[in-house]
Symmetry: C2
Subunit: 421 residues, 2 copies
Amino acid sequence: MKREKAELLDGPAGGGGGEGESVNSKVLGLERRVLRRMLTALGEPPLTVVLWDGQQIAPSDGAPVARVHIRDRAMLYRLVSNPDVEFGEGYSTGRIEVEGDLAECLEQVYRALRRGRRGGIKSWLPDRMAQPRRNTLSRARDNIHHHYDIGNDFYRLWLDGQMVYTCAYFPNPEMSLEEAQTAKLDHVSRKLRLQPGERVVEAGCGWGALALHMARHYGVRVTAYNISREQLAYARERARAEGLEDRVEFVEGDYREISGQYDAFVSVGMLEHVGPACYEQLGAVIDRCLTPDGRGLIHTIGRDRPGMMSPWIEKRIFPGAHPPSLGEMMGIFEPVGLSVTDVENLRLHYALTLEHWLERYRAAEERVRKMFDETFTRTWRLYLAGSIAAFNSGDLQLFQVCFYRTGDPNVPWSRDFLYRV
Amino acid sequence: MKREKAELLDGPAGGGGGEGESVNSKVLGLERRVLRRMLTALGEPPLTVVLWDGQQIAPSDGAPVARVHIRDRAMLYRLVSNPDVEFGEGYSTGRIEVEGDLAECLEQVYRALRRGRRGGIKSWLPDRMAQPRRNTLSRARDNIHHHYDIGNDFYRLWLDGQMVYTCAYFPNPEMSLEEAQTAKLDHVSRKLRLQPGERVVEAGCGWGALALHMARHYGVRVTAYNISREQLAYARERARAEGLEDRVEFVEGDYREISGQYDAFVSVGMLEHVGPACYEQLGAVIDRCLTPDGRGLIHTIGRDRPGMMSPWIEKRIFPGAHPPSLGEMMGIFEPVGLSVTDVENLRLHYALTLEHWLERYRAAEERVRKMFDETFTRTWRLYLAGSIAAFNSGDLQLFQVCFYRTGDPNVPWSRDFLYRV
């Protein structure tokens, strides 16, 4: 009787395996209650959870978008105690499996979480407002090495031919990833209104695609900084192969080590690694290196409100990363008299970019497994799918912020030059 | 000899009147030193200052853009003791006169001031960082009455035919003010992606031009709030005359008194009167009144960094006003889960709008003088010219910020729809 009451409290459930022995059933009743409480705290995502013995908890209303399998009891307790980290850990090691569309499943979790937060459910969640650590020069190098130096061959498996590892721009959503990455490089270059002969500094240049694109198509001279050695080696080789060595210099150095004076400052996908404690310093670097009529663009993952990175992503994928809110970003510009002229939010373009990446990645998983192992393969699959979910659900944003010096009379009159064919 | 030394210390000077008596000359030497110190603190604007007796202080290098006449000794001491307020007071009463282009002269002062600040000259300037007062409901009504209820006939003298008293949008700088104000109403309406039959709430509707435009051209129903009775009476009369009474309701009320649910929230030129202490409250109002797929736009004068309004403008023109930095504005959106999708800075368009207004105003000054008096006429001339200077110099910005609810899948894919012909 007691068992049945517990079941009732737990709400409607699916298949009823494991009802043989009463001791075991009591334990399961407790586990179901714990799991149910976690799902409530998560905002009731439309998922069915399937336990190791076949027991199921279905959503209280509506059809589930996916079935989440928890393979053993210890995993359940880990998950309940620290879901932000342990879902990723469990998925990577195969102790959690998702049946159905992984990105869609995670998007529903993100959306449910937000509903839950609006409803006041907070206490159970870890404090996302804790201050991120300051990224010193050496910590920044460790962080970047962790992610970007795992092998150019690996990234080549699923990025576009130019190796652009940031949000693409799809003027037409049907275009290919290759076309959309080129369109992004152009969109950024046009926003900067580059003129032949100008000097550009790029902070965090990845494999060099933007620097080479600007030099090739806009006739500018580029000094591009990076602290990832694998990326730098690749970028230098490309500059040589394309005969652009005299116009693009790739420098091993942190943004804080930028020297010289430039007509334009550009940074695409680096700010995520800077951390708000260093924004004022970054602003001072920009102020120091820009000519009086200089201008710039920062392209970064962001958020609608300040918050910490997912702790699992922080742990396994991007140590030291922090996607800022626009309010936080203003800490770069406001202290030094830089004037924001344009902000564009390309959140949906990043979701689509990631869908291309995930499709290519999944097609290449056999080779990833041979390069690394099964856990690594699943970790990166989850990271890519989870990122699609985060951008689609609005947990993450993508900001392109243009700026000039305060009072520059040459700010663009309007933005129509960006859209003239 | 002493006198000559003082003159030397003062640097190069123009005409040398008043060199007759030595006692008088010593006094004048002192005054010149004080004046010279003020000009240094102001960052050495390229102006010649002419004293009541014909003595001049010319810029130490370069040609002056204007000659500023100080008509009496008491005025000089008032100016030196509190230039932020007393320049305006002196100009309004005719004790200070500007020979040359008033707006250009003030722009040079703004630009020089910024150079001065960068050079570390601060102590002499009043503290612009003091917190503005909180605008309670009744204080807000007093503030608005002060500026907007001085007579529709007065504004009709120099605004466009639709009586739009906010920054226009000039797709082509050569177009007329009338065309540019209509283009602005369209730019705002298109950014909101209005659909026929939708409900729109407008916070602070002026003389009703935008509300009527949206109803007329986009087929929406508009509820428009305002606390200026003169403006409301005018707007209601226009809605009757145009047969739009059934689609536009003008409500006497503060933004805090908005009720109901709407597909779009729009506010053009009201945020300046809200004050940062009330931004969180405004965000809560928006959150409460927007449907789940609602969106909005706030158009406001702003700044590149937080600061107080010019104390003279605060005293004589806009009591309780505060143009926010973008960072401050995020205090509206971030607490309630609104997602900023687009920010456009139209600073130069406001300078051009004001040039149109000033030109019309100057042509109508004879009538302004008859409606009010000479001091009022000069006060408003200075306010309009000073505003041109503030936008041209970058002391003020003009932000249009678009927002949706976080995670809305229907955010615009790109911004090209705004620029398609």
